[in-house]
């Protein structure tokens, strides 16, 4: 029996959804691979001596119409923000304004990075404006745009902290990170050569200041925090925390993943943070692109400016130039980062202005709180801001999420943070209307009301049925060549 025939009863209050799927006549696969549609092997002839060249090359050889149809079909088997609500907690899946794509497609935006500064005043000017906007929004004195993603921003920020300590003749060995933090924080600290000290939360879901006191020492290079935290709670003790970290000579690092909650209402710099990164692909509406590219600019206080990556853009009397900060950490990207992403972020900020930015955080927090009121799952921690973490209770959160797929919505982030059992971490963002939030709530509630058998067999209306993760990992087939070898 196919999945379609096994469908559970329709829920009258939920949207009816059917994702397009293209099933090959063989029946054992969806849209065939490009290689299965026709490959060609060419013998490589060249003016170069034979021993400098490869012998042959085998690749797909689709005509342009075939290519267009292939990728169009693939796109129809893919769910994006424009397909429906995408309340993936911690990811801030906003609508990506179209006009920013048009700007990124301009010929004068696509210049080579090795051009002279005098010939790139436009690009340098936009970068400088964006540095200024981000500095103002975060309450930071200087900003670098070089890091190509949030994790790269973390790495940059921690290297800045490390260089700062080294410049003070101070070798420190530890970075403190709350247990509920993003996985990248831990990986970043390790990559920079630090030992990670994991910090438990208190019963209210916030930083346990007693545990922090115990963890802090002369070895503390930095404390990495996000605020609001991953439960959506504002760390009300943030000023005390900042003082504690600064008292031992440590650096307070702000993970910008949740900045959308604070736009125009509070600034990390004012709370005592010394370094922060911004996720422009979250807060500033640049598209996530199926996993990237993003951009992870880093802001610092005046004291840390001299450690920023090389080069840094600054204004002159007549225009803009780049320079190497005095104690620069050097490079974190081969050139100047993900420029076209930065360009889109600049355009978004310009479009919204002060009032639009403040309204974005207001509506993001309003939407999260409204949605939370409409759903049946328990939400153990509050008051939350732009996101909340519900518990699927007796259900497996991953199964509940699969069931939600059947109602034409993307489910929340699941099973994380672990402080909430069977977590459903939900962030609707400001872009959803009341009507959409009601449909989203209906999907939550339909999943909540589903029995175990139903959710374990979900989804049934998506392009593909439940995918076997175990077999994918046990027997890795990572290319069409690996599939061929199997046959």
């Amino acid at each position: 029996m196919s999945r379609q025939q096994e469908r559970p009863d329709e829920q009258s209050e939920t949207l009816t959804f059917e994702q397009a799927s293209w099933v090959d006549p063989d029946g054992d696969r969806y849209e065939p691979l490009l290689s299965e549609k026709g490959s060609e092997t060419v013998e490589v002839d060249s003016e170069l001596p034979d021993d400098l060249t490869r012998d042959s090359l085998e690749l797909p050889n689709p005509s342009e119409p075939e290519l267009a149809r292939h990728y169009t079909r693939l796109s129809e088997m893919n769910y994006g923000v424009e397909s429906g609500p995408f309340p993936l907690g911690s990811c801030t899946m906003k609508y990506n304004p179209k006009f920013t794509e048009d700007l990124a497609a301009r010929a004068d935006a696509s210049i080579h990075p090795d051009r002279s500064e005098r010939s790139t005043q436009g690009t340098l000017g936009l970068l400088h404006e964006l540095q200024t906007y981000l500095g103002d929004i975060g309450g930071m004195d200087a900003v670098t745009l070089q890091p190509p993603a949030g994790a790269a921003g973390e790495f940059t920020g921690i290297l800045v902290a490390k260089s700062y300590h080294e410049a003070n003749g101070d070798e420190r060995s530890e970075v403190i990170i709350p247990e509920s933090a993003h996985g990248t924080n831990f990986a970043t600290a390790a990559m920079a050569g630090y030992d990670v000290v994991s910090l438990p939360s208190n019963e209210a879901g916030r930083v346990d200041t007693e545990a922090l006191e115990a963890a802090l020492s002369e070895e503390t290079a930095a404390l990495m925090l996000t605020n609001p935290n991953t439960l959506g709670l504002f760390e009300r003790d943030i000023e005390e925390i900042a003082e504690m970290v600064h008292d031992v000579g440590g650096i307070l690092y702000y993970d910008g993943a949740n900045l959308n909650a604070l736009l125009g209402r509070a600034r990390p710099g004012d709370m005592g943070f010394d370094v922060m990164h911004y996720n422009v692909h979250k807060t500033f509406a640049t598209p996530h692109g199926g996993g990237g590219p993003g951009a992870g600019p880093v802001g610092v206080t005046e004291e840390l400016r001299e450690f920023l990556p090389d080069p840094h853009v600054r204004a002159t009397d007549t225009g803009y130039e780049t320079h190497t900060p005095d104690n620069s950490i050097g490079k974190v990207h081969g050139y100047d980062g993900n420029w076209l992403v930065l360009l889109k972020a600049h355009a978004y900020i310009t479009r919204l202005g002060d009032a639009g930015l403040a309204d974005a955080s207001a509506k993001a927090v309003l939407n999260a709180n409204y949605l939370a009121e409409q759903i049946d799952y328990e939400i153990p921690f509050g008051p939350f801001h732009h996101e909340f973490v519900a518990s699927a209770g007796e259900q497996d959160a991953a199964d509940a999420a699969k069931r939600m797929l059947d109602f034409g919505v993307h489910p929340p982030t699941t099973k994380w943070p672990e402080i909430v059992p069977e977590a459903l971490m939900t962030e609707p963002t400001e872009i959803e209307s009341k009507r959409t939030l009601d449909q989203l709530a209906a999907a939550f509630n339909a999943a909540s009301a589903s029995d175990t058998d139903t959710i374990e067999h979900a989804p049934s209306r998506t392009a593909a049925g439940r995918i076997d993760q175990t077999s994918a990992a046990r027997n890795p087939r990572l290319s069409w060549q690996a599939l061929d070898d199997e046959e």
Binding site: V23, E58, H182, E373, L478, Q481
Partner: protein, 442 residues
């Protein structure tokens, strides 16, 4: 006060939602202590879409309209319209990392196809679905070498001519490890194999070479570098780019364990250094457990149809945390999609032809410049790919500045050396460029 143009709430909806929550204002939802509230202004005026476009376009117009003959690791090839239109389909560009594979089969399959193309081009068994750029991919290769139990050395050997951006990033990636970076000499642009042989021993963790080199030369005898690394249990990492892979010696056949480099030469254009980091490696178990970045694998769904999913995720930061193989999370997936589309649109014939044209254009252009008084090209007595270094009698910086005044951009790479890169994107301007060079070199 106007709000966000992308928040759809009417005043009455907002009121209804606040009522449902049981508060009387949006402000009441913020649990922020007074002492850290920000009630100032940024001074950013909201603009209409038209005005916002005009403002950005007007600033961009301050970029000079130059014809670029620039490369050195980052290239401008013509991107077919079909790539732009298909990659911009909103289901692709507005989607997230494929944590729910049942609704993300399209992107997963496209990335699986991208990985497969790299497997074919490199001859290696495994390719990930992207790193940020060539420089960070090189950094990841070095830390991979450190994690491998089969490698006990700590010295990373790189060519003395390594691109400064790549070297800078590599230095930072190894800063938290026991690795040290050393250079080995080059001879006439290519690896000085005798000198390298002297430097490689049991303390070596990785040997890095590039083909083509940053000076545009094509390496000869890379297999001996592969053998050398192999004899001393060091990782051999080869840097290259997606076009060169179609023509030059297959990395696996010269003993490369890892391939890194730039993928955005296809699919993206110059984009001010915005790139795509290639990463491929051997597929034995030890490497498979240690490879950085996202991997898409084939599996089956509940209808027993082949389906795709992110796999081997226990290597990654969201599960393994401080023991992850890398901190990478957001990557360059959408650029990889574009690159795969561009490769598919060229097909094997088109890709090999593009690579062959890259050899021909460099040779012919060097030949034309060499005929001019005051220029000798190419400097290196080697085969070239896409670009070459020319010696100029005048100071190179002055030549580059004079050419810029004529509307052309070249690299000044030495006191009397300029570097020139030719692709189909600037070939139509060659006659004017050569004429301009002949004027300014006198």
């Amino acid at each position: 006060m106007s709000g966000s143009p992308y928040a759809p709430h009417t005043a009455s909806e907002t009121t209804a939602m606040l009522d449902a929550i049981g508060v009387d204002s949006e402000e009441a939802l913020f649990d922020i202590p007074e002492s850290v509230r920000f009630d100032g202004e940024f001074g950013i005026d909201a603009k209409s879409e038209q005005a916002a476009r005009r403002a950005v376009a007007s600033t961009l117009a301050d970029n000079d309209d130059l014809t670029e003959f620039l490369g050195r690791g980052h290239y401008d090839h013509y991107v077919p319209s079909v790539v732009d239109h298909l990659a911009d389909r909103s289901e692709f560009i507005t989607s997230y990392t494929q944590y729910q594979p049942e609704v993300a089969q399209g992107f997963l399959q496209a990335l699986f196809e991208y990985q497969s193309m790299l497997v074919e081009l490199t001859g290696l068994e495994v390719a990930n679905c992207s790193m940020y750029d060539a420089a960070t991919a090189l950094g990841e290769a070095a830390t991979l070498a450190e994690r491998l139990r089969s490698i006990s050395g700590t010295r990373v050997l790189v060519p003395d001519l390594l691109h400064e951006g790549r070297r800078g990033v590599l230095d930072n990636y190894v800063a938290g490890s026991d690795l040290t970076v050393e250079t080995y000499p080059t001879a006439d642009g290519n690896v000085d194999r005798e000198a390298l042989t002297e430097q490689v021993d049991e303390t070596t963790a990785m040997v890095y070479a590039e083909n083509p080199t940053v000076r545009g030369t094509i390496e000869e005898g890379l297999d001996t570098v592969g053998d050398l690394a192999d004899e001393h249990d060091a990782l051999f990492t080869l840097g290259t780019d997606i076009v060169a892979l179609a023509l030059l010696e297959e990395p696996a056949s010269v003993g490369a364990d890892v391939v890194v480099g730039d993928g955005s030469a296809l699919g993206l254009g110059s984009a001010y250094g915005f790139g795509l980091g290639l990463f491929a490696c051997r597929g034995d178990r030890e490497l498979l457990r240690q490879v950085p970045g996202r991997l898409v694998g084939a599996s089956e769904d509940s209808d027993d149809r082949r389906a795709y999913t992110l796999t081997l995720q226990t290597r990654e930061q969201h599960i393994r945390r401080e023991r992850a193989t890398s901190n990478i999370c957001s990557n360059q997936a959408w650029v990889a999609l574009r690159t795969a589309m561009h490769v598919a649109s060229l097909g094997p014939d088109g890709l090999v032809e593009l690579a062959n044209d890259s050899v021909r254009r460099a040779r012919e252009t060097a030949g034309r410049l060499d005929e001019l008084t005051g220029v000798q090209a190419p400097v290196h007595d080697r085969h070239h790919f896409r670009e070459f270094v020319a010696r100029v009698d005048q100071p190179a910086e002055a030549i580059a500045a004079d050419l810029e005044a004529e509307g052309y951009a070249v690299h000044a790479v030495g006191d009397h050396e300029i570097q020139v890169c030719v692709t189909e994107a600037n070939e139509q301007a060659l006659d004017g460029f050569v004429a301009a060079v002949s004027e300014v070199v006198r």
